[in-house]
Amino acid sequence: MLRSYEDLPSTPVSLQSTEDIMTGNWRTMRPVIDEEKCIRCYICWKFCPDMSIEVEEADDFPTVNLDYCKGCGICANECPKDAIEMVREE
């Protein structure tokens, strides 16, 4: 845990894996997938710039990894069936 300037590395470099940085806390809008409308085309998975749309196995519905999803809304914009709604985070 960094507390002081003294804890910084001697040169600007990461001290942890990118996976440890929970960029999900940048989010103000969260994608919610409506499985009634979703046709499992996975266009959202293809377009997500942060690899935050996950598909466990073939034919599964896509899910959103909220640890990393920044809420950019690209998935909702690209969805051909309007199956993704961007909902304000409380």
């Binding site: 300037y5 910084l8 040169t11 990461s14």
Partner: protein, 396 residues
């Protein structure tokens, strides 16, 4: 071994002796013969280095930043417009602790067009976060370039350094230079061994990723400490250099014949040698004058310069650049350093702009002016332009 060479060749041979591994350079007058000489040394196999030909100085700096990240000792050189074009990447290099060493053949910034020497290019980069060392002669260019690697690559410092040689006056003038042997330099300067270097296989990391407002200020504080640490290291490295090679330059500042002096003139770069001759001649005539050679502008040697308050009764500062709207850069900072309610009066002399010769007569008239002012105890005007045609004084 004594070689008769220009300061540019001294800089190139210093790179060879320092076993530089990656060079990226773009030719610009009056620096060109540094990059040409190194291209020749690499081409003939006399030097084992990668020479990257780039399309601009901005790219040259970007290339050496990258090479430095994988642990290579890096070198580039430039002048004037080229230095200005590097500006963005100069700040990057310093901000991410890349200990690049770069001779700069100091030249005025255009326009209108000029190719001749003054310090306005390097002064414009004083806030880039680089160390800035001014050289008096070709020997100092060679010695300082080698020393600069040892200072810059210290793990407590990791800060890039400019080695400044006045364009043409040093860069293209031949002088006798005592060239150390490769063994002696190897013994003095160990290979570059950074704490962190890019290693894709065993230790992948992100370098210089985004730093948000919650830590940026602490990052800048660390860079400030790096620069502050360099003050001690410069003195330490120079002592070590003197012990091995028998040459000494006085640390961050050299006080030349300042004992019992009434007045002192602060000066940097090539005019220093001329001014030392003038001091010797005036001392022979009983005039109590002394010289202060500013070797390091960044880090700024405020603690050394403040001693002038107790040493002399009048201080002059000679600037080979002018900051529009304010005065010479050396003057501004030295006046700040010397400020106290009973501090010594201080006057700025501007000269040698755009390649104008700084003559012995110019320097002598500056000292006569300082001696006359010291009797009055205050300056007549804050800034005088030396040898200005139509100016307020007869300088010639």
């Amino acid at each position: 071994m004594i070689e008769i060479i220009t300061s540019n060749y001294a800089a190139a041979y210093a790179a060879k002796l320092s076993r530089v591994e990656v060079i990226a350079a773009y030719p610009i007058t009056p620096q060109t013969s540094i990059s040409e000489k190194l291209a020749e040394l690499v081409d003939t196999g006399e030097m084992d280095a990668k020479y990257i030909k780039v399309e601009s100085e901005h790219s040259a700096m970007a290339a050496v930043i990258g090479a430095s990240y994988v642990g290579a000792r890096t070198f580039t050189a430039t002048s004037s417009q080229g230095l200005a074009l590097m500006h963005e990447n100069l700040i990057w290099a310093a901000g991410v602790n890349r200990p690049i060493v770069m001779p700069v053949a100091a030249r005025a910034l255009s326009g209108p067009w000029t190719i001749w020497s003054d310090h306005s290019d390097v002064i414009s980069e004083r806030d880039a976060g680089w160390m800035q060392f001014f050289c008096e002669n070709n020997q100092e260019t060679l010695d300082m370039t080698i020393m600069a690697y040892k200072i810059a690559e210290d793990r407590e410092i990791m800060t890039p350094a400019m080695v400044i040689e006045d364009g043409f006056i040093l860069s293209h003038t031949v002088e006798a230079v005592d060239m150390p042997s490769q063994e002696e330099v190897d013994d003095f300067l160990p290979p570059f061994d950074p704490e962190f270097k890019i290693d894709f296989k065993s230790e992948p990391r992100r370098y210089a990723g985004v730093l948000a407002p919650d830590w940026w200020q602490e990052h800048r504080y660390r860079r400030m400490l790096d620069m502050e640490h360099s003050k001690e290291k410069i003195v330490e490295v120079e002592r070590d250099f003197e012990r091995r090679f028998g040459r000494s330059y006085g640390g961050l500042v050299e006080f030349y014949r300042c004992d019992d002096a009434d007045v002192a003139l602060v000066i940097a770069g090539a005019p220093t040698g001329t001014a030392k001759d003038v001091v010797d001649e005036m001392r022979d005539r009983g005039k109590k004058v002394g010289l202060v050679k500013l070797r390091s502008f960044r880090p700024f040697p405020g603690e050394e310069l403040v001693k002038l308050n107790d040493m002399v009764s009048m201080v002059g500062v000679f600037d080979k650049s002018y900051t529009m709207g304010q005065g010479g850069a050396f003057f501004q900072e030295i006046r700040n350093a010397l400020y106290s309610p009973d501090g010594v009066p201080i006057k700025n002399y501007i000269g040698g702009l755009g390649g104008r010769d700084v003559t012995k007569k110019n320097i002598e008239l500056i000292f006569e002016d300082l001696l006359s002012l010291s009797k009055k105890g205050k300056v007549d005007r804050i800034i005088d332009w030396v040898a200005l045609k139509g100016g307020p004084r007869r300088w010639e």
